[in-house]
């Protein structure tokens, strides 16, 4: 009885506190991609410490739903791993500004006890997901890794079963480097691979890899790093093998020529030391906001995220934006009225 009443007291205090803060503060709501959600939510918390008057509420509903909500005007900003298509942009009467907010890199994570520093050529990268490279000691893998002792075991392939920006960026790269892959699988947020097991979310794929030796799968760098998975070095367009880390991804991103609308995928980056599979993820803003106070709060938040907020990226496994990209993103933010 006593416990219940003290709970009730806590609850009433909490609700009254919530009312006090909401009464004074500016609320900004956003929705979209799940991949950058941990970062955006962290930004919301940290930004609230700097600017107690502004509360940012981000819901990770998925890129597709984020774009939908943004087009319907039910949120103040959207977020999407696939930016927005020209058709979608044309349907938003207030106009759209795309702001690259952070970036990710996708890695081939694998579980082969005793095998460290695996290198994958471009044909093997595609071959594994087409089911043509079936065993770990396939001649094509052995040729690129003469020093490694590779087992005569089948390669178990893991993929994302849910629709995701990660799959989109991953299949986009494989379709670019392999015509067979383009023909048989193609690019999308959810595709049907001819081989493998599907895990739900980055965490699902990570669990698949972690649990059975002989498994390889694609996940965001942060998940592979946090779970201590081995990551393969991938061959880039200029033929070099590049290990995935934040520095190599940043190199790639600084070499990307950003177009006017800031919407670009470095599908197959050309630099000698570029890591091949990287991608920006975007915040979607309207060109014009009717409410001046909301506009001011939103601009402050995004501008903080592009500068101070970038310092949280690395610890959460994201790639901090290179300086030239930040400059262009800020310039784009200034056009928002």
């Amino acid at each position: 009885m006593k416990l219940t009443s003290s709970w009730a007291l806590c609850l009433s205090i909490a609700t009254s506190l919530a009312f006090v803060t909401t009464g004074q503060s500016q609320q900004i709501s956003g929705a979209g991609a799940t991949f950058p959600a941990p970062l955006y939510q962290r930004w919301g918390v940290e930004f609230n410490k700097v600017q107690p008057g502004i509360q940012v509420n981000y819901q990770s509903v998925g890129s597709g739903a984020g774009v939908k909500n943004f087009m319907q005007g039910v949120v103040d900003f959207g977020a999407s791993d696939a930016a927005m298509t020209d058709d979608e942009i044309a349907k938003v009467s207030a106009g759209v500004v795309l702001i690259p907010a952070t970036a990710g890199e996708i890695v081939y994570a694998y579980n082969l006890p005793g095998v460290i520093g695996l290198k994958l050529t471009r044909e093997v990268m595609a071959g594994i997901y087409l089911g043509t490279v079936k065993k770990w000691n396939d001649p094509a893998i052995v040729k690129a890794n003469p020093d490694l002792k590779l087992p005569n075991n089948p390669i178990q392939v893991a993929y994302r079963s849910d629709g995701s920006g990660t799959t989109y960026v991953f299949t986009q790269h494989l379709s670019e480097i392999s015509d067979d892959f383009d023909d048989q699988v193609g690019t999308d947020k959810s595709v049907t691979f001819p081989v493998g097991v599907g895990g739900k979310g980055n965490e699902g794929v990570t669990a698949l890899i972690k649990q059975s030796p002989g498994t390889i799968g694609y996940v965001e760098y942060g998940y592979a790093k946090d779970n201590g998975l081995s990551m393969a070095s991938l061959q880039n367009k200029s033929g070099n093998f590049v290990a995935p880390d934040i520095a190599s991804a940043r190199d790639t991103l600084s070499n990307v020529p950003l177009p006017e609308n800031l919407r670009i995928w470095p599908v197959d980056p050309e630099g000698a030391n570029d890591y091949p599979i990287v991608s920006f993820t975007w915040l979607l803003l309207y060109k014009k906001y009717p409410n001046a106070e909301k506009l001011k709060a939103l601009k402050e938040f995004v501008s903080w995220g592009l500068t101070a907020g970038q310092s949280f990226s690395e610890s959460l496994g994201y790639v901090p934006l290179p300086q030239p990209v930040v400059e262009k993103a800020k310039a784009a933010l200034d056009t928002v009225q």
């Binding site: 799940t34 509903v61 998925g62 890129s63 597709g64 739903a65 089948p154 178990q156 079963s161 849910d162 629709g163 995701s164 920006g165 193609g186 690019t187 999308d188 947020k189 959810s190 595709v191 049907t192 001819p194 493998g196 097991v197 599907g198 895990g199 739900k200 699902g204 669990a207 698949l208 649990q211 059975s212």
Partner: protein, 316 residues
């Protein structure tokens, strides 16, 4: 004495007014029916473009390729039915055995009460927790079993290799545990409500305890046990999160229970968030099929229930 009685009972004592309670109940039940109709209408409307485009082929083709706009849910229909049936196969003997144990006086009432509570607690565990538990506990066990099964019975199509951890079998084992409380609780109620006289009669005729259980008590409780099984089957078919985490979500058809498979509910959970255009319509179509399958199961269950009730009417 007679005056107040007259006030209460006599028709003159009532004021002519609508029966509010009756109206309330009627509205509530009408709303429920309308709600179901509304849900089905909305799903049908969103599914319509896909129904028009694919028609009946949707249920008989096995391609699910969103980027080529080819959709067919045959593997998912098979996966849904197969995983639920396998789960029932595992859970039914176990659940009924527990129910018998809990309704007989093998142990003191307090211990049985505790056990019953523990079994029913299984129903309170959230689906996602079952999923996580399955990933860390069941998958390694099933994988080890699978490797052994492929080695010794690999020629048999159901156990053909290679064995995966995320497979139809894994999902079914976890589903079996999830539906165990449903089967146990309802079967136990059915067994406990078998008239005492029947049991005493059986003993009086000289039957042993086993004879009493298997030839008198179980047949009498059969309708309840059947109902329990159907409810369990329904729960298994609609189960989403745990299955999506464990079954491997593959749209390839395979005979082996050790291969990854997929269910309709899992497909919806996986792809709805990022779906666009015709994919949304097709997912709605898949939802409609799932509702259809569950409806058929319930109707079949109802039929079996009536049949067994008629059969056991004599001994009740």
């Amino acid at each position: 004495m007679s005056a107040p009685e007259k006030d209460i009972i006599s028709p003159a004592g009532y004021r002519p007014a609508p029966d509010l309670f009756r109206i309330l109940c009627q509205t509530a039940s009408l709303l429920t029916v309308l709600m179901l109709g509304w849900i089905i209408y909305e799903i049908l409307e969103s599914a319509w473009p896909s129904i028009q485009k694919f028609g009946f082929d949707f249920m008989t083709t096995s391609a699910w390729v969103p980027n080529r706009e080819r959709f067919g849910v045959l593997p998912f229909i098979i996966g849904t039915v197969a995983s639920s049936l396998l789960a029932i196969l595992l859970a039914f003997p176990l659940g009924v055995a527990i129910a018998i144990f809990l309704s007989e006086n093998f142990l003191s009432a307090s211990i049985r009460q505790t056990m019953r509570f523990v079994v029913e607690m299984l129903a309170a565990i959230p689906s996602v927790v079952y999923g996580l538990w399955g990933i860390f506990v069941i998958i390694p066990i099933v994988k080890a079993f699978g490797d052994w099964a492929v080695g010794s019975m690999g020629d048999f199509p159901l156990f053909s290799g290679p064995a995966y951890g995320n497979s139809l079998l894994t999902a079914s084992v976890v589903l079996a545990i999830m539906i165990l409380p449903t089967i146990t609780a309802i079967s136990r109620n059915a067994l406990a409500s078998v008239p005492k006289t029947l049991r005493e009669g059986a003993y009086a005729l000289g039957s042993t305890r086993w004879e009493a259980i298997f030839s008198v008590i179980l047949p009498t409780a059969a309708p309840g046990i059947v109902a329990a099984t159907i409810l369990g089957l329904g729960r298994a078919m609609g189960e989403t999160m745990a299955v999506a985490m464990l079954i491997g979500n593959s749209s390839r058809l395979s005979w082996s229970i050790l291969s990854p498979s997929g269910t309709l509910a899992g497909l919806l959970a996986n792809q709805f968030g990022e779906a666009q255009g015709l994919q949304v319509n097709s997912l709605m179509y898949a939802a409609l099929i799932l509702i259809g399958i569950t409806l058929i199961v319930n109707l079949l269950g109802e039929a079996v229930l009536r049949h067994t009730q008629k059969q056991t009417a004599g001994i009740r």
